[in-house]
């Protein structure tokens, strides 16, 4: 059984991080260059960590499966990044950001982690501006803000609808600088396929060069995973097609605990599915809910009508009606379920009946079309490209889609997993968002972890490792891991079945969406837990992976990732079945208030469930880390 000590510092909430920074061990500058750190991933968390650690003097190797670090999917985040700057003078503070984030997560995150996140949020904005991130500004030249879901202040900084792109390019430029200076060894098109453990500690990785197929061994004093979330277990999502869980899943199979996998986020405002060939769902930024109003027809028969022909009296602005306090800006999980209820009642719109309207006609009356275009023009353009409809003339049709995963590898306050020397940053870890993430908080967490937390906490671990003590990549543990990886590759290529990889990914996605999506039931989850193992059997008997291992082989890459998704999907359903409560993004139909809101069970489930691999074919162990709320009283979330 894994030891799960969260290592939360003692003392008052607001002093914990400052005190911890003063208490933890340091590595002296001359010794830093003797340590090698592997960073896997180059999104916001990975690129910021790699560049900052290199600036501190550590030797860093950075691995990305993309052809350039600039392609990581952080680039696609649209709306913004939260920070408790209170530049708007509207009552914001570190405490309020902390409280909003904790409450938004439905009281299923650690207080101390979330408070630290709110504290360093202000430093992130400073850092990004210094790097040249072109945030939106007021006419006086000072920074502009907008509102996001789950908050009653304007604390979101943004760069048009491309905030993730600009923050990532900032982190990429910092990474490029240290790569150019020879401080980081960059390995692009290199996919981590196993974690190497020596003497109980993470000391290296096995990597496949995606162009040559060569398998490489890399030893280090510590390994950092910043490889993003696992939302593509649903096949259709707002993730990039390449986003995958292979790094965290292979680490799980080496003993790292996976925490709260059932906490998945369904984003309310995405463009609805149009056909079964579909590969991708496109998000319409939450920022649109600042000015757009969400509604469904009051009458079922109006679902197929031209929305402009439905009179005002027949429109149900259901978020404003049900949640007058937050209205269209209620949190994502709340808004998604409300939209689903409308469609379940038969009041959905569009050709499929799976959609509601996001309407800008009031905003256009207020701001003019040009004003709306200035704020959201690029999003309206994307909508037009995909649907061939103009949202200036007719309301957007939107429907919820998988967007983010709050669960991830378990980490302590130092962002270290239960395997010493293995650190996990950004969406790949589980730590800060509880059961639901608020909008504009993913970018905040990724950069907080990389720029301002790991540079301190990794030193505390390394100070306990003798300089030069890292194992050689010729050690037997590396050979064994490499053989394991090569064996899996050979097995996948050898099946020569009848179906392409996509066939199995689509089927997995349908099982997951149907039984483990926005609403989950005991019977449905039990059904999924019968169907997924059967699908796994079919995959390993019937997948066709053409080509060879010694060249660029995209089918082979995808096959390995889907094999992992199938296993992870099973664990996700098991976690959802075991958590007999509703909280945030995890909604069990058996546990709801009469008005359809989440009914938490704080007595039974105010804990982190951290699953531990017990070997193939054996039920994983469910470890528990209790969540002790010392400073905030857990209460029923109320956005009304």
């Amino acid at each position: 059984m894994a030891t799960l000590d969260p290592k939360i510092p003692s003392g008052p909430l607001a002093d914990k991080w400052r005190k911890h920074k003063a208490d933890i061990r340091l590595v002296n500058p001359a010794n830093k260059r003797k340590y090698e750190i592997i960073v896997v991933g180059a999104g916001l968390a990975g690129a910021s960590a790699a560049s900052t650690l290199a600036d501190l003097g550590y030797k860093v190797k950075n691995f990305v499966f993309h052809d350039s670090p600039r392609r990581a999917h952080s680039i696609a985040a649209q709306g913004g990044i939260n920070a408790a700057k209170n530049y708007q003078n509207d009552g914001d503070s570190v405490h309020r950001l902390f409280y909003d984030t904790l409450k938004g997560g439905d009281y299923r995150a650690r207080e101390a982690n979330v408070h630290r996140l709110a504290e360093v949020s202000v430093n992130i904005i400073d850092q990004c501006v210094a790097q040249g991130v072109p945030f939106a500004r007021e006419y006086g030249g000072l920074l502009a803000n907008r509102s996001f879901g789950g908050a009653q202040v304007s604390r979101t900084f943004y760069a048009r609808g491309q905030t993730g792109q600009q923050l990532l390019l900032g982190a990429y430029s910092a990474l490029s600088r240290v790569v150019g200076a020879g401080l980081v060894e960059l390995h692009t098109q290199s996919e981590m396929l196993d974690l190497v453990i020596v003497g109980g500690q993470a000391k290296g990785i096995i990597v496949r060069d995606l162009v040559t197929g060569e398998i490489g061994r890399h030893a280090a004093d510590a390994v950092i995973l910043a490889t993003g979330g696992y939302g593509n277990v649903f096949n259709l999502s707002t993730y990039a097609r390449g986003s995958n869980a292979t790094a965290i899943w292979r680490a799980y199979k080496r003993g790292a605990c996976l925490a709260n996998p059932c906490y998945t986020q369904i984003h309310p405002t995405c463009i609805p599915v149009s056909g079964d060939y579909q590969s991708k769902l496109t998000l319409m930024s939450e920022s649109l809910r600042n000015d757009g109003r969400i509604w469904a027809p009051r009458k079922k028969e109006d679902g197929r009508k031209n929305p402009n022909d439905i009179p005002e009296a027949d429109r149900d602005y259901f978020l404003e009606r049900i949640y007058p306090g937050f209205g269209n800006l209620c949190p994502r999980d709340v808004a998604s379920r409300a939209a689903k209820r409308m469609c379940d009642e038969g009041r959905g719109v569009g050709p499929t009946g799976l959609g509601v309207y996001l309407d800008f006609s009031d905003a256009i009356k207020r701001l003019g079309e040009a004003g709306v275009r200035e704020r959201y023009g690029n999003l309206f353009d994307i909508y037009h490209e995909i649907t061939a409809e103009s949202a200036y003339q007719t309301p957007m049709r939107i429907f919820p889609a998988v967007h983010y995963t709050m669960g991830g590898l378990w980490v302590d306050y130092n962002l270290m997993s239960n395997i010493p020397g293995l650190f996990v940053l950004g969406e790949a870890n589980f730590s800060d968002h509880g059961a639901n993430r608020l909008g504009a908080s993913a970018l905040m967490q990724g950069l907080a972890d990389g720029y301002f937390i790991i540079p301190y906490t990794i030193g505390d671990y390394l100070a306990g490792q003798k300089p030069g003590s890292r194992p050689s990549a010729d050690a037997p543990e590396f050979k064994a891991a490499e053989d394991h990886v090569s064996g899996m590759t050979a097995r996948l290529l050898g099946i020569k079945g009848r179906q392409p990889v996509s066939h199995f990914h689509k089927r997995l996605g349908k099982i997951m969406w149907e039984h483990c999506g926005m609403a989950r039931t005991k019977a449905g989850l039990a059904q999924a837990l019968r169907e997924i193992p059967a699908l796994r059997e079919e995959f390993w008997a019937g997948v066709n992976v053409p080509g060879s291992a010694d060249t660029l082989n995209q089918s082979l890459e995808q096959a390995g990732r889907v094999a992992d998704f199938i296993e992870l999907g099973e664990l996700l359903c098991l976690d959802a079945l075991t958590r007999e409560e509703s909280c945030g993004g995890h909604f069990r139909e058996e546990h709801q208030h009469p008005d359809g809101e989440c009914k938490r069970d704080d007595a039974g489930f105010a804990h982190v469930a951290a699953w531990e691999f017990q070997g193939a074919g054996r039920t994983p162990l469910r470890n528990i880390e209790p969540l002790n709320y010392e400073f905030v009283k857990m209460s029923v979330r109320n956005y009304k």
Binding site: G141, L142, S176, V179, S274, Y277, Y451, G517
Partner: protein, 270 residues
Amino acid sequence: MVAPSTPPHLSLTLRVWRQAGPSQPGRFVDYAAPGLSPDMSFLELLDVVNDGLTTKGEEPIAFAHDCREGICGTCSCTINGKPHGPGQGVATCQIYLRAFRDGDTIVVEPFRARAFPVVKDLVTDRAAFDKIQQAGGFITARAGSAPDANAAPVPKPAADLAMDAAACIGCGACVAACKNASAMLFVAAKVSHLGLLPQGQPERDKRVLAMVGTMDALGFGNCTNQYECSAACPKLISHDFIARLNRDYLAATVRSAFQPAPAGTGGGAG
């Protein structure tokens, strides 16, 4: 979640560049693609063709793609002779089949440029762009040392123009569209983005000299003002930034010629 699709009514022929590796010869191969929905994206068409090839036991077409929403810059097909195909201001992944007519033959090639060698089929190696960035496409700002974000106001017009330039997704369409395979628009976008901001001033000269020098060394051609780059750019980045780059480059060259080099850095104290 999967909905009944719009009735399919398009049949297309794909004429695709197949090349097994960088040093192997390539050739065009035709693939029939019947029964398509106009709401399908171009990359989804490649998915469907690839699933068909796989089922027949043939090797699928390698193509670069990731976010499929026009922001990561991974996708890079030249479609009917145009980098990123028939749209304006969109990437390959944002092309939908409604842009084609029933019975069309679509010619699909990789981005072609000396500095972007073909890896396989439609996939090219664009690491040269990363090397240009590493030479100078940054502002040196160590984490922890930044002043308050509002300490240096930036006039809104400058911030907006910087954002226009910063929108570059690094796809390389500008290079593929240029008869000289020039990377001037790519370099101009980064030099302009950082040079328009007060934070970018200390390294402004060094940046432009290093980025242009690296661009030349990597085998990109020069600019002869045809503006094909801007026309092909999925973010419609203006060729005006090239003029800005030229001004910056000239000024930096002159200043570096007349400025005495500093005697040295570091050391001394203690």
